[in-house]
Symmetry: C2
Subunit: 349 residues, 2 copies
DNA sequence: TTGTAAGCGTTATCAG
DNA sequence: CTGATAACGCTTACAA
């Protein structure tokens, strides 16, 4: 049953041409006569020949492999999954027009914050470029290894303490600024933040956006109204209960994700208040949850698919022109999706 | 900057030994003197040498690549994402103890139902084995290609019209039977099904489980209480409204996923009924949504991580013993998670 | 336009 | 236990 697979030499024999010519046909080289091309193509078809990628790689000195390393919380958070799969889709979508194959590796945040992370990950691997998808700081010593090895890489959603060649991210800061602008128009002045994991990079940027937006409007930043949880529903619930006891009491609450917003909404309802008449609540992610909760959630949608696309584009151009010196970081805008969990501020000041 | 990477020959020179010996050290071959081994290891360290995987593959005749092909609805459904990422995690978790690298390819259902799907997908690729992750029928002619090429493969969550070598799935049928048993104990006799996409394999099996469970209990299967939607919240809402008009009116509703269940709950509430006193509602997936809706949803959790693990185990053993004839299909049990959307049937019969 | 042959970096088979 | 040396399948000067 297991007939040996045909090789390029078999094709050459059958077509009566040389291996060189066959190879040229395979690689779309211009200087091949139509006649020869035809013969080779027939032989290929007849033999069911498929070139062996490893042999090709070896001869050409390229691997045609791009590796995606996903750096995950441990245990992995559902909202991370929800964010990462569209990114992967975007990556693959862009990659299918290229000769590159996509290989994946999954690591944990703790590992990526140690120095030999990529060295270990890439042990025994031969890749042309690396995509790094994560939400936590990357140990810069790991990145040095990539530089030494001359492996082009693009960071997606994460960064290191030292500046890196190329980064793709969405605009956490701007998104929060935008939603606060919107809420200020509605008359809100007392804002609270129910954050997710405090050290996570997206959250760091959003917290900064939160402060900056308020300061820009000459609104007061109340430290007691800024709290952090763990992106799970329960922490949203708990933190909202705390907020209801604070002084001043906020009228608008920005949450780290839709799930925490759902928890906050539950807390508000449990205490007998109404949304949006008593409180405006904003989520993040535009997940299904935002449509399921009552009232439907105003939320922020990150351009995940586009991020994947752009990251691949950048990586490919880095691979082409090996020594580009660009140190470029792309920040894509988010979309504010307004539903009914936000409304006019009814509290007299 | 881009110093050439060291090769095995460099290591041989520096250590004063032959390439053969270096190779033996690399591959943990027993017949190497401790002294030689030490010298080689020193040289490797000094040169920062890493073997080139493609050269290795070529010489050994294996690729060390396992490909995961994900077959998706178009556009991709969020609930599919939610299911697939844990499977991938399970796959990777098992693979990191092996020499195999994981490569991924994403295709759409329409493509996989045509005959040349895998031929196209694997064009120019050299893999040792294939994992096929999907929820829709696979064209069996595509699989013939794999057989001819002698590429071991494992289907995850899907199947073809002809029996295949190895399949891993979760027990859709049994899960529905179990939940109906549970509801029967609570006194329910009139069951409705709000299905997801009707032709999708998981749904096919669940619908069959639905009928079988009722018949086994000598309960009537009302065709007008079996409806199919598209796994989105709106169709759950709409179909529930329809069910409220049917005769007989069901008291227990099994939904295709948590999202449709959320829609159904909304419809029930909108019409002024209570859960679980008037209706019991069951979801599927144990997604975050099941904890967000009110009341929290009784649902079914599939062993996604374990499926990934098992699939890899199977594939690896198929790769080892090339011509195993097993035609084995593994069905893993689901977990019924009881929350408060289900309860005693209060309707007098 | 085509053929020849020398690599690409490893492994594996033989002798020694 | 070790060293030559021929594969592995393909690409690519270089010649013709």
């Amino acid at each position: 049953m297991s007939k040996k697979r045909a090789t390029l030499i078999d094709v050459a024999k059958l077509s009566g041409l040389s291996t060189g010519t066959v190879s040229r046909v395979l690689n779309g080289h211009p200087s091949v006569s139509d006649e020869a091309r035809k013969k080779v193509e027939d032989a290929i078809k007849k033999l069911n020949y498929v070139p062996l990628s490893t042999a090709r790689s070896l001869a050409k000195g390229v691997s045609n492999v791009i590796m995606l390393s996903m750096i995950e919380e441990n245990p992995i958070l559902p909202s991370t999954w929800r964010y990462e799969l569209p990114v992967i889709q975007g990556i693959y979508d862009c990659l299918r027009d290229t000769p590159y194959n996509l290989q994946v590796g999954i690591g944990f945040v703790e590992e990526a914050q140690k120095s030999k992370f990529f060295e270990n990950l890439l042990k025994d691997k031969y890749i042309d470029g690396l995509l790094i998808l994560g939400s936590w700081p990357i140990d810069h010593r790991s990145l040095i290894y990539l530089e030494e090895r001359n492996i082009p890489y693009v960071l997606i959603g994460c960064r290191s303490s030292v500046p890196t060649r190329a980064e793709v991210n969405f605009d956490n800061h701007g998104a929060v600024v935008e939603v606060i602008e919107y809420l200020v128009q509605l008359g809100h002045t007392k804002f609270a933040l129910i954050g997710g994991l405090k050290e996570q990079l997206h959250m760091v940027d959003r917290a900064k956006g939160f402060r900056d937006a308020l300061l820009a409007r000459d609104l007061k930043v109340y430290p007691n109204l800024i709290k952090f949880g763990d992106y799970q529903i329960d922490s949203g619930y708990r933190l909202m209960l705390e907020l209801l006891e604070e002084d001043p009491r906020p009228t608008a609450i920005i949450c780290g994700n839709d799930l925490m917003a759902a928890g906050a909404i539950k807390a508000i309802h449990d205490k007998g208040y109404k949304i949006p008449s008593d409180f405006s609540v904003v989520g993040f992610d535009d997940s299904e949850i935002s449509k399921v909760v009552d009232p439907p959630l105003t939320t922020i949608k990150a351009p995940t698919f586009e991020m994947g696309n752009l990251a691949v584009e950048k990586l490919c151009s880095m691979i082409q022109q090996k020594d580009m010196e660009l140190e470029e970081i792309a920040i894509l805008p988010c979309e504010l999706i307004i539903r009914s969990s936000t409304g006019e501020c009814n509290q007299k000041n």
